[in-house]
Symmetry: D2
Subunit: 340 residues, 4 copies
């Protein structure tokens, strides 16, 4: 349970409240919330209900554990968050395009991708140098060399760099290069990593786990937010369904629900959500009119030769084509997508 | 296995082929396919492979059982089917809007719905008079009285009437009134009903079962098509996922896949696919740019008072608003949506 | 909502209660429940809560719609039901074995199966003469001829006959032959059929739909029970999961949950639940110690030559082997399994 | 692709083979396999097929990527592995019982649990001191203090100690205390952790991810095995299904399939698989006769007061009762469960 204090509570009132709680055996700790302090209840032996707690002076709200995502909740922060990074915004009226290859493979590939992303009006160049691969025998990423190549390509084209981090040991190295740190779906509940990300000063793109509920997703974000890093961007990337002919099933209604539940920006990754390049453009268009704040796409100059996830990568020319579609579509939902 | 004969096969060749198959113990029956006759193999004791069969004179293709939807397959009918009914087309370049209440409740409700549907540029008035309700204690539909009310409202507004049929015993009565017969997701594999629908001369809208694969869906359509009724319209309406906070999960990528697999028109029902009215418009917009041939929506003048599925019904004014969005969106995917 | 009346309510009290409800606009109908009459609420415009209704004289319980399975609920009938049919019991202490082929194919096959079932201590010979097949090109069953063969084999071996019915038109013919009528998972929500089964005097085995929740399953049973037929046997047969390498996923914990929720007997069908014969025996053993009241198995003298579902059929000798295991296992959970 | 070399290949032959591959552009690295060296193909630009590779001298098998779990595959190691640790075996004929609380909370709790585990014939005392909790506001574990308490309780009762490790930074500390290292389902694809576990000399219990296929599960094991640690024990702990009333769905047929696919021992965790204590015993019995090599259970002297996962913990007396059931059941499947 989380006790949200009245924003205007005075110190004497708060001390009286805490003494009263202690007298009923309610163990708690105080920590800063998005709009004033909250008390996180860690033991409640006499079973006080939210209603009982809300009747106490100085208590604005008592939230049950199902809505423990205090920092992530829209209720606690009704206006949507706009995250600023290097002149780019996520979550405002501007529709955000992030694209690049699944894995950084070499300078030529990254140059080709960065050229396409910039030409399409994209702002962020994605690409992994530490790859979470299902098989130990698959390409595992170029490591530091990849980060250097990635940084160079992003800088030459005026793009931000986004790169995945696999665990907290790798975090310092990736954070040295990247503007935005990506946490993949397999790591959505890598809690030591999430805690470490709460302590840094760079935005984090957090992808939904492939069988995670929205509550679990927002509680994962809460690990980062409650650690002090308020710049979290969420990303829907498909869930596992009973249907074996699709890699994943794009849960697009979830975007609408997430935007209700949280103030954080929500992107959609139609590449992982489908796993098949010819489905990417239709689902990218669909996402653009569903209320998402932007797209995360995989693009590759030579999908057939890609070292990772080639089947879901689109070509640079597809990205340009999509860019034109986005300019036509997003105004219908009150957003803008600028000329390249 | 299905053996597709060369379209130009002569009778003597066909008899020679059939004799050869009989000599190898291959039991089969001949039936008309979309482009000439096919042989449906019912026993293959010597295990002839598709490759072996395709090497025989007169055989164009041998299809394994996984693609037994001979009539439904796009491969057998590369151009998309356009279904004509009462001046309306499904599957052509015109985006089709069908809407109405879940259940027919009375004349006032149907008049209000029909007015809204016509004003929004819709062509079909949906509404159930035989309702498949999870609980025996829920409203089960008005039966014949509902069909009469429905017919009247559709006629007054120049709309087609679409109504659900629950089993073959009810089929004659529903077919007496409706222009298009709807088969709900719970009945997708009601095979006696599907066979009966194969024998009538009215279009059928077939909804995907809530845990059906696309192969099962197309084989259900095949029951109708192989019975002689070629006017089948498919409808995606959400699949059951692990996520308890959504009634269903809208599988929008499936629309693209279905359009590849089959020549039949594909509509999307975002009302059942989400179960929550505030998700309907975003998902309707998403469907409109995903490649779907149209929408099936639930609208009700008083959702809170609806006898069935009120929480997912949108208001008449929402339908009008969506109509404007559709006019802006569908040209991006090469379709039209006419002025009301 | 369902209002359960006090069992000892007098007529005058009941009339006073009904008048009071009418005065508040509560529309309802009275019908017999398992322990006295219940009032099924069909409209509640002033939003009376269960608590308010339970405070009225003569009301024992007011149940929200989520537990509308009045007749099926264990709460309304705490002792488990024991269903008697032709000297056989389902739901008592005796573990019940039902087995036979998926489809009736001919006299020799049925004789071989019946011999095996009887030798293994089975009491019921299953087999379908009307088959719900995914593809219209698959074997659809022998119809009346199959029913006759089935009846003969059952009678010669002192077994009960259980056969599937696909829709209400076929019901009279199947009921003419079979002792127990089976409703398959695809038909779990064929409501006209369920209503028709409520009006006959033979036990019904109802299989869980492949993506049905337990609530939906029990509400389907409620259609039969509320129609007046109290002899319903439930059957778990696997649910559809994300895992493509299994036909279905056996939800064995569901047996325990169902036995808590309902007084009806619960069998397990490990053949459909796995789809692979070598998984059937391990899962049959697991079911036997999980609290299930019995097993439903597919057996075939020649699985490779079976016209339907051969891959999941076990051999007669496997059935005998399982029989020995059952005798060792079921006493651990307080049941008996008699010598053949 | 994996090229399995003939066990008896001579060095000159192997060099000739590698030179031939290099001439066709096939990049590869050599590494030790379970029965001699294998070549892991990392690039195959001319698209050599498995058949072509198997025709080369010195090649025993060429395995496509779908079966890349070379070390885990039963095909490569037909006899089941028996893992020995401190006098206890996993995977042999002795059925293994591991139990303990979800989280280590204090000395009294661990003493009570250890007493119960030893009395029930268990060999391993489980308990987490680093807890992966969905919410950042939940109890996160006692850390080193918990490990010390756990070690003491295990030693006093002659039990092995098994404890969860959350990421590679914590590994040295946990490995300092524990006999067996547990990787939880959320971490099944924490690849840096898996690689680190490949380099240590202690057995690892690896739990299946809640939406992982068996192939993904075995490839996760392959990360550990290919790193040089051959002592991996698998654990089924339930998968996420569409059913919201169960925390997870126990996929018991998966045990049989895993035992076919791999030589590694397979335990079942019915506590996490159900999330409800009253389902644990029935599912534990079911697992015991399904072919599993043992059980992993949560037990707690005071479930209502547990700091983590209380609802799924059984009482010490339940564990004793289960122990008696196991002694009666496992001989039916050819195993033994010794007296305490």
């Amino acid at each position: 349970m989380i006790i949200v204090l009245d924003p205007g509570i005075r110190q004497a009132e708060r001390e009286a409240l805490e003494a009263h709680l202690a007298g009923r055996g309610v163990a708690h700790r105080r920590e800063p919330g998005p709009r004033g302090d909250v008390l996180v209840v860690t033991a409640n032996p006499s079973g006080l209900t939210p209603e009982q707690l809300e009747s106490l002076p100085g208590v604005a709200r008592a939230l049950p554990s199902a809505t423990e995502f205090v920092h992530a909740s829209r209720e606690m922060h009704p206006a949507g968050s706009v995250i600023h990074v290097g002149g780019v915004t996520a979550g405002g009226g501007e529709f955000l395009l992030a694209a690049g290859p699944c894995a950084v493979e070499g300078p030529g590939q990254m140059e080709a991708c960065a050229t396409a992303v910039a030409a399409a009006g994209g702002k962020i160049l994605r690409g992994g140098s530490f790859k979470p691969r299902t098989s130990p025998y698959s390409f595992q990423g170029l490591g530091r060399e990849g980060l250097e190549i990635h940084r160079g390509a992003a800088d030459r084209h005026g793009l931000l760099m986004m790169s995945e981090v696999l665990d907290r040991e790798d975090l310092p190295m990736v954070a040295e290069f990247a503007d935005i740190l990506q946490v993949g779906s397999r790591n959505m509940q890598n809690f030591p990593l999430l805690k470490a990300l709460g302590g840094i000063r760079k935005p984090v793109l957090l992808k939904r786990g492939l069988a995670a509920t929205r509550e679990e997703f927002l509680l994962a974000a809460e690990y980062i937010l409650s650690g002090g890093n308020s710049d979290v961007i969420l990303c829907e990337r498909g869930i596992r369904s009973f249907d074996p002919s699709l890699r994943n099933s794009l849960d697009l209604a979830s975007v609408v629900l997430l935007k209700e539940m949280t103030h954080l920006p929500v992107l959609v990754d139609p590449s992982h959500a489908t796993g098949q390049s010819r489905l990417v453009l239709p689902m990218a268009r669909a996402a653009a009119v569903s209320g998402a704040d932007g797209l995360l796409l995989e693009v590759h100059p030579d999908p057939a030769g890609a070292l990772s996830d080639g089947p879901q990568a689109i070509l640079p020319e597809d990205l340009i084509r999509l860019s034109a579609d986005l300019r036509a579509l997003v105004p219908v939902v009150g957003r803008t997508f600028g000329a390249p």
